[in-house]
């Protein structure tokens, strides 16, 4: 029987996976070239099972795991009683140039943040971004004073955010530690997909900016200033895009 308290929150599934499979025509793949041809059509695989067969994607996933390890994002722990790990998912993106040729295979590990509940898994999620009016005001100001506006971008910004809450995630598909398959990962830093990731990143950025002498505006928390007169710096923040003038 369905637990009535769960009923509203569980997403309704009209067909289960087996039913979907039953209706699907099975394709016989006899040679490797056919598999490759199929992959070429699909291009951006939707799940790990498909991507694992392609060297390019495997490479991309390894590079993502590397940058996560470099950030010391997580540690392997036993799951404490009463905790539920959040599932992880691989997300694949092809980067193309203007001619439509593939430039880069990009794999990103995302957490299934939609299972998180406020008050249990996270508290605050708000992160300020620059209002478009503010951006125009900065541009108008820059024009009048003939300042140049620079554009900075932070790579894998969300992976920098430090988590206040305890968050456990299951091990990423295809990269389980041998012999420790039952263990889970405790996060020190945020992952893409977590509800609190944008806020964690903003708190971290805020801290670093203040450390190097920037002052946050009271009227617009996404704008920072530093210095006076000719060496004046104004900085606008839009998640991982920074405007400096």
């Amino acid at each position: 029987m369905v637990d009535s308290s769960d009923y509203d929150e569980t997403p309704v599934r009209f067909r289960n996976l087996n039913e979907v499979y039953q209706d699907t025509v099975e394709v016989e793949l006899t040679s490797d070239s056919e598999v490759e041809a199929l992959l070429a059509v699909m291009e951006e695989p939707s799940c790990y099972r498909v991507a694992a067969g392609n060297g390019n994607w495997v490479e991309a996933m390894e590079s993502e795991i590397q940058s996560i390890n470099k950030n010391r994002t997580w540690e392997l722990v036993e799951l404490p009683a009463g905790q539920k790990p959040i599932g992880l998912k691989w997300d694949y993106k092809l980067k193309r140039n203007a001619e439509g040729e593939i430039v880069k295979y990009k794999a990103r590990l995302v957490a299934k943040g939609y299972v998180q509940r406020q008050g249990i898994d996270y508290e605050e999620v708000f992160a300020p971004v620059a209002r478009i009016e503010t951006v125009r005001l900065i541009l108008a100001l820059a024009a009048n004073r003939s300042w140049k506006v620079h554009h900075l971008d932070v790579k894998t910004a969300f992976l920098n955010g430090e988590l206040i809450e305890d968050v456990y995630v299951s091990q990423p598909e295809g990269f389980e530690k041998k012999g420790h398959e039952k263990m889970v990962l405790k996060l020190r830093k945020a992952l893409y997909g977590l509800k609190q990731a944008p806020r964690a990143w903003n708190v971290k950025l805020d801290g670093s900016l203040k450390k190097i002498g920037f002052r946050k505006c009271v009227t617009e928390p996404a704008v920072y200033t530093r210095g006076e007169g000719l060496s004046k710096l104004v900085l606008g923040v839009y998640v991982d895009d920074l405007l400096v003038t």
Binding site: I132, E133, T134, V135, R136, L137, I138, L139, A140, L141, A142, A143, N144, R145, S146, K148, V149, H150, H151, L152, D153, V154, K155, T156, A157, N160, L205, S208, L209, I212, C217, V218, T219, E220, V223, T225, E228, K232, V234, Y238, D241, L243
Partner: protein, 301 residues
């Protein structure tokens, strides 16, 4: 900071949140031509016949209860795209604002209005705002205007405001007022109060960014009786019903944060944000507002 995070310097700002920015020696331009083309493509309007105005002057859109319904999702999607375009296109602010009022149950009539906005967009793509170097200290100037009971559904008025840093248009808005105004004076009074809130915020923000003491913002209104009501807190039969919250602007004037000034209707820059206009007047007024057409670079190539 580069040591703490992995960062990349993308050089001079040229493309930010879908907005194309061009920095020249003594001016900066912002536009969304690329996005506009994409929107037209997406909704199959790339080859439509262009129009000169986004909404006909006599147009009175109502709820159209008997009208034939159209796909609401598609309608909302188009409105969403158009609203994003408004970031550099205040000329469409009024028409998109009006069309947005019918997102709940759009009918063929509303859809045709939206199509006209797209056709207008098609005719005038390479448009945006310009910020120039004026070699003088920055001052904030605001304009506010209102129509009178233009909305046939609830008889509410549409207010508009536009704020400039020297000559450059930085923020504007076109909104249906929250309560019914009994006179044009009252409608203008309400629009000015909304503008006062924005003025105070801009004033503080500019003060904080530049590190100077905020100066008073000049607010231009074209209705003499509304101005009189703001400057002199008289209380009499014809204004006693005006909600207390709208008297906020009087306090701002008293504290000298805002200076209210009179402007002739023909020089009212916010006029185009409050009503549909015939083609000639529309093109004059949108230029007055600060919308600029750029030369097509393709022609030089």
């Amino acid at each position: 900071m580069t040591s703490e995070f992995e960062m990349s310097d993308l050089g001079l700002l040229s493309f930010y949140l879908g907005i194309e920015v061009e920095q020249k020696r003594d001016f900066i331009t912002v536009k969304q031509t690329g996005y506009a083309k994409k929107v037209l493509d997406q909704f199959g309007m790339s080859d439509c016949n262009a129009t000169k105005i986004p909404m006909d002057p006599g147009m009175k859109l109502d709820a159209d209860k008997q009208g034939e319904r159209v796909d609401a999702t598609r309608y909302r999607r188009i409105i969403g795209c158009l609203r994003y375009l408004l970031h550099t296109r205040p000329d469409m602010s009024y028409s998109v604002g009006v069309a947005s009022r019918f997102m709940e149950k759009p009918t063929v009539k509303h859809f045709n209005a939206v199509k006209q906005i797209l056709r207008y967009l098609k005719g005038i793509l390479n448009v945006g705002l310009v910020y120039t170097q004026e070699k003088k200290p920055e001052v904030l100037v605001g304009y506010t205007d209102s129509d009178s009971g233009g909305d046939v559904v609830g008889r509410r008025s549409t207010g508009g405001m536009a704020f400039y840093l020297n000559e450059g248009l930085i923020t504007w808005n076109s909104h249906k007022e929250k309560t019914v105004a009994l006179s044009s004076c009252e409608a203008e009074f309400m629009a000015a109060t909304a503008a006062a809130k924005q003025a105070l915020w801009l004033r503080n923000l500019l003060g904080e960014i530049t590190g100077t003491e905020p100066k008073a913002v000049s607010l231009y209104v074209d209705n003499s009786s509304a101005i009189a009501l703001m400057k002199n807190p008289v209380f009499h039969g014809r204004s006693k019903h005006i909600d207390v919250k709208f008297h906020f602007i009087r306090e701002c004037v008293e504290r000298e944060q805002i200076v209210v000034k009179k402007v002739h209707t023909l020089e009212q820059k916010a006029d185009v944000l409050t009503k549909p206009m015939p083609a000639v007047k529309f093109s004059v007024m949108k230029h007055l507002l600060g919308v600029r057409e750029f030369e097509l670079e393709d022609h030089q190539a």
